[in-house]
Structure formats: C-alpha cells, structure tokens
Symmetry: C2
Subunit: 466 residues, 2 copies
C-alpha cells in the first residue's frame, strides 16, 4: 500500500488516510483479510503523529471497513458482508426491499422512515437464549410477575441507560411495558385527565394521535434549528411537553444543551410540569459526539423518559420502558400500581439475558455498522442532488430530510417519485396542524438494502430532474 | 367386582353405581389399570338400563377415575396421578403451596381465590412449540404485526369461542391484547370518557379499580340468587354494565337465561348501551350443564366479550381478547386502530399452534380433572362444616363461598384462621361500597395441592370450632 499525503490538500491528514484506505478496500485493491500496516509503521512512513493514524483506523474500524484481531493487527474486511451488496436469501424481511434482487423496474422502492433492517436480527442467538430460558424455566416463570416488570430486567435496563444514555435512575423507577403506545396509555392514568400538552411541529404522528385519543388539548410549538422554541412555552399554558431532543422526528434536529436547559428551567418553574422525552432511536448516531439523554441533565425530577427496544432489536420485541421521576413514581404506585405487566416473564427473561450476556451491545455495534454504511451510501448518492436540495438531519437516525431549494412542492416531489416507482414521505405527513404544503421529503434507509438505495436514488434522479 | 343396588336406597341408580365404583377405586379395591365390566355386561348383571350405566361411567370418566381405551373398554385410573397425592418435585410454583410437603405447622396455607395450579402446565409441549416456531421463523415474525393481533390467531380464537362458549363472531371482531387490564384501557378509548358504568356488588375488585382509574362514575347494583338485579338498572342512569354471568366473582352465582334476557333487553332499549361480559374462568365448570356465554344470546350487538388465557393456561401467557360488536368495531377501527398490538408475534404464534394442534383442549381436560378432584376433596372435607356454614358457588370456578349461619363476622373468621396459619378471604374485600362486615369467606383451591387442602381444612376445623 503506497500513498501520498497532501498537507495542503482537501481534508485534514486523518481524513486523507481514512479516505485513501477506504477507497482501496472499496475498489478491491486491498482485499478482504489483507493485513494493514501497523499504526506505528504507517505513522513513520507518512511522517505523521501516530494518533492521526490511530484516529483514521478507529473511524474505519467503527464503520466496518477494517477489523482488529487481538495481538495481530488490522485487517481489511470482506465487503461482501456489506449490506448493499447482495444479501443472503431466506432471512430478508417483508419490510425490507432486499427480497427483490435484482431490482426490477416494477418493484416499488419504499424509503420509509419507519422501517428497520431485519436482516441483521440475531436469530440464532435469540433462539439459543429462548431455548436456554425455557430449559431452566420452572413454573415461576409462568406465574404472574411484578406489575412494573421483573426487577432483574429493570436493573439491567437502568444500567444500560446509565452507561449508554447517561440516564440516572434506580430500577424502582423503571416500568416495563408492551410498546410505547401502552406505556403512554399508562402514563395518561398517572398524569391524569387534565393535562395540556405541547408538541413539536412537525412531530411523530403516532404519539400525536395517542394524545388526541386522550382528549388532551395539544399545543404545537414551532421549531428553529435548535429544536422546539422553549421561549414559546410559557404563553402556551401547558403542563407537559413531548420532545425528542436527541433526534427529533422527522426533522432530525439534535437539541443543543442550551435549549435543553431552557426546557428544564421551564419545567422547574411551576409544580407538576413534566417533559416527556421520547428517545426512540438514540442508538444510531453517525456523526459528532454522542448526545446524552435530556433526563441526564434533569436535576428537579421533571423528565419522564420513554425508550424502546423495537427499533434497536426488532418491532416484534414488544418491550418499551418508562423511567418515572420520583414524584410521579409515588403517584404511579398509589394510583396505578395494580395494572399488571403487559410483557410475559419469559420474554422479559430472554431480553434480560440478551442484554446481560453482551449480545445486545454486539448487535448494536453490528447494526450501527450496517446503518452507517447505508447512511454513507445514501449521502454519496445524494451528492448530485445537492444543487437542488438542502439535506438535513444527517447526523443520526435512519432517515434524512431533503428540502427543495427552488421550493418545489412536496406533493409534486412525492408524485413524481411515485411515477418512477419510489415512495418518499412528505414532511407535512408529520405536521399536526393545517399544513402548508412543504418543500421537504423524508428519505428513510433503515429497511432498504444497499442495492435498493442505489436503484432508488437513480430513479429519484430521473424523477426530479428538471 | 360385586355390588348390590338399593332401589329404595339413597340416590338414584346411576349415582349408586357411580359412588360404588369410585369408592372401590379410592380404597384400592379396584387397582389402576384394572378393566371394568363393559356397560352392557354391567347393565345385564344389575338389571338396569344400559343408559344408566353409561351415565355413571361418563361421570367417572369426566372426573378422571376411569379412562376409556378405544376398542378395549374402561379401565381404572392410577390415583397416584391425582393432585392431592404427593407431587413430583421441581415444578411446583411459588403460587402453590405444593412445594412444602410434608406440610409443617409453620407453612401458611393460602386459600387464595386468584391462584391457579401451575403444576399442570405443559412445559414440554410449550417448549417444543416454541422451538418449532423459532426454527420456522423468518424475520416476518419479528416485524410489527397487525394492530388487532395476527389474523390466524384471531381465527383460532373465534373458532374456539364458538365451539366452547357459543360466542358468535368473525375474526375481524377479535382484538388480542396483553392482559385484561390493557384491553380495558383500550376499551376506555373505544367507549370514550363519558361512560357511566354499573357493576355487581360484590364484584371483581381489580376491574373496579380500573374503571375507577378511568374516572367512570360507577353504580353498584345488588344481586339476588340469579345475579345482578337487572330491574334496578333503568333507574341507575348508566350506559354500560360489567357482568360475569357464567360465574360471578366472588359469589359464584350463575345467571339463568331469564335474567340474561332482562339484561339484553335493557341494553337494546337505548342506543349505545353495552354489556361488558367478563368470562374469566368459564373453562372450569364441575356441575350441571355447560352455560354458554351471554354474548351467544345477543341479537342486537350489545355485548363486549372479554376472555383470557391467563387462568386456563398460565398467568404469564399475557394473552387476553376482546370481542367487539360490529357497531363498536367500526368505532375502534376509526379511532383506535393505530394502537399497536401488545403481544409479540412469536407469542401469538406459539399460542395459535398450541390451540390448533389440540394441546389446549387436552390441557383443559387435564386441568378440569385436577380441579374437579380438588373441588370434590374440598367439598367432602367441608361436610363437617355444613352445620355452621352455608356453602355456595360450588358449581364452577376455583373457589367456594362459606357463609356463617350464626352470623359470625367475616373479620373474626379470617383472624381465627390466620392464627392457625391459614389465609381465607373475607367477602367484603370484593365489596365496593362501604361494606358492612359480612359473614362470608372465600376458599380458593386452584393453587393448593390436595395435601394442603386437607391440612388447611383440618386447621380451619380447629380455628372455627366453638
């Protein structure tokens, strides 16, 4: 491997190293299994600091281009394992388009922002654990468990949340439930009937519908580039705010610490004000530093944290969890503690073992790699679109937002895409009040194979060219 | 086997035959595996109609004293399999007392009316099916399923309900959910906020608390020997009635058809009146004809049927179901159809296979035998109590009600039982308004082994003797 650094060229030194090696692998010049030079040797050869090479290798590693073998060094990965090359048959889900290779002109390509990649689901591990749980099971496991969920699982969840999201909680504060919808139903019983709630606009429509079905009066609060305008809350006369600070749906906005503190101050200003933090896909972040949960900054017990394993593992794993602040925990125990748990003890045990044995972390690492690769692919394929579109929400999550600079109507973009057999999602689908036709569409990539993303972007190029 | 019939003796002929054979088996005079005379031979020998012998044999068969082998005849069963003899270790649940043989004076015997016998749970079958489901599983099974539950399971449930309970419904009317509590939460969203509800008094306290948490105004309606006083409903100004017609909890009252028709007429008299039928333990009926569900008689689409697999299989099987009348189904689809299903598709598939392959029916038959035997044992042991107590609710379900003839206060009965290490349940625990101290206690036997029942009744004899 030889290459030239350009100290005056585009990108800093580590980026050049990273780009060069990545290209070598992608073009097949560095073959799978080939050993890379040690970081020390490469640093000496290039006459750069070893930390610069370390950083580049770290990036390649986390993106799955290379792997590290203990005591041996770094090796190029087999790109056949990359998600956009052909998938092995049999385990392709109905929600992914990967079941239609080669992509014919007739298959609709659905850039759904709600789908996830199920080809990465660790079937064999899940089966193994299930078998193990059932083998060890005694009739206890088939008896009614604790209303909040088994203590063991709640302990595991609280530990995971602390290490991965900075959430501070005792297992006693965790309530396990079968999906976010159910937990929101339970939350209504805890908060009571007379809640006035504020939501971002646009927002996650499912939650909006749920609050509607509670007959909660809903105020929508506009967003700027830092997220919900906290300064507008005081005049809205609300007692609860539903937010997605780490990755807002659908805009992809990440709320900076300043705005978070504003929200927390608003909540602390009056008694019984709460922030409902929906941290729905915090596991997938591709650029910049990890962002802790809003709950991590809460000093006054005003944040209700809502998380789920549906995105990170599989939708069928019907396990979500609420973390209640202490004040609401008392109310829950007093008034709602009799509602029995909606997740079977068997399923709780399987998930608990899956996390405790380290499989969850490994699965997340794998999925991050897969999604990161898809994300990069999509961003690369979007290059030719950048003249016509602004791209946002590209730091995290499983979708991007494209906004037409020329102000092409969303309706038009969706229609023209559909004519080419591509489904994209208008931003106004997530708007909750009479929505002016936006100029933005969402492109989700979670459930699409690399081949489908490639084909889909080609079609969009056709669809949207002037 | 020789015996004498007493045409003038106590009991009709078939009862004498039944009693005689049962006694022979219990006393070990007829050994397990020994063949009984054919019905024809015995009828000839006794000079009675063959149908009389048929009937006696049928009773013995259903109670597990004898078994029928195809083309071979009838054989005495091994009584070691009877639940009150020693249980095999290892699979005894925390909820049952069977884990403490021999019963020491220190072990509390809990006649809980809520417990079930988990020693009969078909672990190996459940494991086998789970393994099979996971082996055949593709990623579809881990994807989000239908909001109402998978169609296949709903079809299976509707067929089961039709054949076993006379319920008339299409699979489209069935909503699968993780437990009754969740389904009642969903029902609140369907019925709306402004429901005034009537309940029997006493009633099932858990449901009462749930309706309370909905802030529904609750009227309690007195019962007579036929159940809820339907004639009182008109003046209560309610729009919904929660009833348990097939086996009222806690009284054990079975509502006769006349009273049922009164309820149905009340519901049909005004639009938007509904009867919520909780058929919580209809599977276990020991005397008299099977009673169909109230829903089976509903001609105007006014019954909302609620059932569960928690009692019949295991509490951990978090699967309950609502059957909505057509008018509410439309409302559900329009206003609540977005609430995602709370039961994982894997669990749905396991249960579906368990029912479709006939395991559920076999399990029910087995449990009926087990419970019937415990029920008989308890009734026999209650003979000496009959001077002091009236016994009611003895036709079905997993508990009986004892009412002191002398009017001993419930509180006193519970306290004196506790002093002997026995827990019994005062009827007033199920009363929903300021309860006058009753003279009744509940004795549940579902979760107790035969040995525990025996020991418990001895202690109660001590506790309650004057």
């Amino acid at each position: 491997m030889t290459f030239q650094l350009h100290p005056e060229g585009s990108g800093c030194l580590y980026e050049q190293i990273y780009e060069h090696i990545r290209k070598e692998i992608k073009e097949g010049k560095l073959l799978a299994g080939e050993r890379l030079p040690s970081t020390r040797a490469l640093a000496e050869y290039l006459q750069v600091a070893r930390s610069t090479v370390d950083y580049a290798y770290g990036q390649l590693l986390s993106e799955g281009y290379i792997e590290s073998r203990p005591c041996k060094g770094y090796y190029a990965c087999a790109l056949e394992e990359m998600p956009w090359t052909e998938e092995p048959g049999g385990e392709t889900g109905a929600q992914t388009q990967s079941g239609v290779p080669p992509l014919s002109g007739e298959g609709v390509i659905d850039f759904s922002p709600y789908d996830i990649d199920m080809t990465g689901f660790p079937f064999s591990v899940w089966k193994k654990i299930t078998k193990h749980i059932l083998t060890c099971a005694n009739s206890d496991l088939f008896a009614r468990g604790e209303a909040q969920g088994d203590y063991g699982l709640r302990l595991t969840i609280s530990r995971y949340l602390h290490s991965s999201r900075g959430v501070n909680c005792r297992p006693e504060q965790v309530i396990v439930g079968a999906g976010n919808d159910y937990l929101l139903l339970l939350l209504e019983k805890i908060l009571g009937r007379h809640v006035r709630i504020a939501m971002e606009n646009p927002t996650y429509k499912r939650s909006y519908r749920i609050f509607q079905s509670f007959s909660y009066p809903i105020s929508t609060v506009d967003m700027d580039e830092w997220g919900m305008r906290a300064d507008r809350l005081e005049r809205e006369n609300v007692s609860a705010v539903y937010v997605m600070p780490s990755h807002q749906f659908p805009t992809g906005t990440v709320m900076p610490i300043g705005r978070r503190m504003e929200l927390l101050r608003w909540a602390a200003r009056e008694p019984e004000r709460y922030l409902i933090e929906d941290d729905y896909d915090s596991e997938f972040r591709f650029r910049g530093k990890p962002i802790p949960a809003l709950q991590a900054s809460d000093r006054h017990g005003r944040v209700i944290y809502l998380g789920t394993f549906s995105k990170a593992i599989a939708p069928a794993i019907r396990v979500s969890f609420l973390v209640l602040p202490e004040s609401l925990l008392e109310k829950y125990l007093r008034e709602c503690g009799f509602y029995s748990c909606t997740v079977s003890r068997i399923d709780q045990s399987i998930l608990d073992e899956f996390i405790r044995e380290g499989y969850f972390e490994r699965h997340l690492n794998k999925m991050r790699k897969i999604y990161r690769a898809k994300h990069e692919l999509l961003l690369n394929l979007l290059q030719p679109f950048r003249e016509e579109f602004d791209i946002s929400g590209e730091n995290a999550g499983l979708h991007l937002v494209l906004t037409s600079r020329g102000g092409s109507a969303e309706r038009e973009l969706v229609r023209r895409a559909a004519e080419q057999g591509v489904r994209v999602y208008g931003l106004s689908e997530s708007m909750v009040e009479e929505a002016p036709d936006s100029a933005s569409v969402l492109l989700g990539f979670g459930g699409l194979s690399g081949a489908a993303i490639q084909e889909g972007m080609e079609r969009l190029g056709q669809a949207w060219k002037q």
